[in-house]
């Protein structure tokens, strides 16, 4: 891991993109158990069909966790002040998600110099799945 240099962060700085392997059922089963979210729409094809869904789909929080990885792969987690996202679309099986982040503003928040990072995740077809932003301390 490269060392994070807060002095080198400027508006327009891009975080190294994070590419995730295509979503499969094993990933959803592992995340269901680890996150405690056992909603059957993510885990049980039969239950999903009974609810009128064509198949299971990824937990929104799995996609958000990948954005968390994007951030902590760039800057130590101790610098992460907040992360907020809006789920834009369902992430289906086979979707290969890429997470991206870009510094859009540097400003003082509660007396601390922070980078505001715009976040997005999209699949291999360019469909946006999650948008959001994070605040990372540069102090």
């Amino acid at each position: 891991m490269t060392t994070f240099d807060p002095a080198a962060v400027t508006v327009g700085s891009e975080l190294p993109a994070l590419a995730i392997e295509p979503v499969n059922r094993t990933m959803l089963a592992l995340f269901g158990c680890a996150s405690g979210d056992l909603n059957p729409v993510h885990l049980d094809l039969d239950a999903a069909r009974r609810l009128g869904l064509p198949d299971v789909f990824a937990h929104g929080m799995l996609g958000m966790a990948w954005l968390g990885r994007l951030l902590t792969g760039w800057a130590p987690q101790s610098r992460l002040r907040r992360i907020d996202v809006r789920f834009q679309g369902i992430t289906h099986l086979g979707n290969a998600i890429t997470c991206r982040g870009k510094v859009v503003e540097i400003r003082d928040v509660a007396g601390e110099r922070c980078a505001r990072v715009a976040l997005s995740s999209s699949n291999q077809f360019g469909q946006l799945k999650i948008v959001g932003e994070a605040l990372v301390s540069l102090a």
Binding site: F31, A34, S35, P40, V41, R69, R81, I83, D84
Partner: protein, 146 residues
């Protein structure tokens, strides 16, 4: 329509004890391989007393306890109507393996859009550690489709 009586409702308190095995399973599930999240020595070298919980992990507390889903169900929202609209975390201090956190959540807003076709429930949570220090705040928006 979701009954506005739920506005201000406080969910039953959830408590979660963070264990190394659970945190390693979470790291594996999200593909996190940074040793800080799986190797206690690496975590200590990074200044943590033990494996740190990744930025979104604390959402698990109310999944484990089932309070959030029970509330959603009691509101009359079924699983096929439910979507997770937004989620946010404010981090005040690290939470690590060995910590126990207590999560208190209240229903902060209920509103609708598109003439009631979509209803929104905003839940705000405070997360405190064993020393009763505020470690994180969560904001979740659940969407009910009609």
């Amino acid at each position: 329509m979701i009954d506005k009586k739920w506005l201000g409702y406080e969910l039953p308190v959830s408590t979660l004890s963070l264990e190394r095995g659970r945190l390693r399973a979470f790291a594996r599930a999200i593909g996190e391989t940074d040793p800080v999240y799986v190797d206690v020595e690496a975590a200590r070298a990074a200044g943590y007393p033990d494996l740190p919980a990744p930025p979104t992990f604390l959402f698990a507390a109310e999944q484990d306890s089932g309070t959030q889903m029970a509330t959603v169900e009691a509101m009359g929202i079924s699983l096929d109507q439910l979507l997770h609209g937004e989620q946010g975390f404010v981090h005040h201090r690290p939470v690590c393996a060995g910590d126990t956190v207590t999560v208190r959540t209240r229903v902060a807003e209920i509103y609708d859009k598109k003439g009631g076709a979509l209803e929104f429930v905003v839940m705000l949570s405070d997360v405190r550690n064993r020393q009763d220090e505020l470690v994180a705040e969560l904001r979740g928006v659940l969407v009910c489709r009609h």
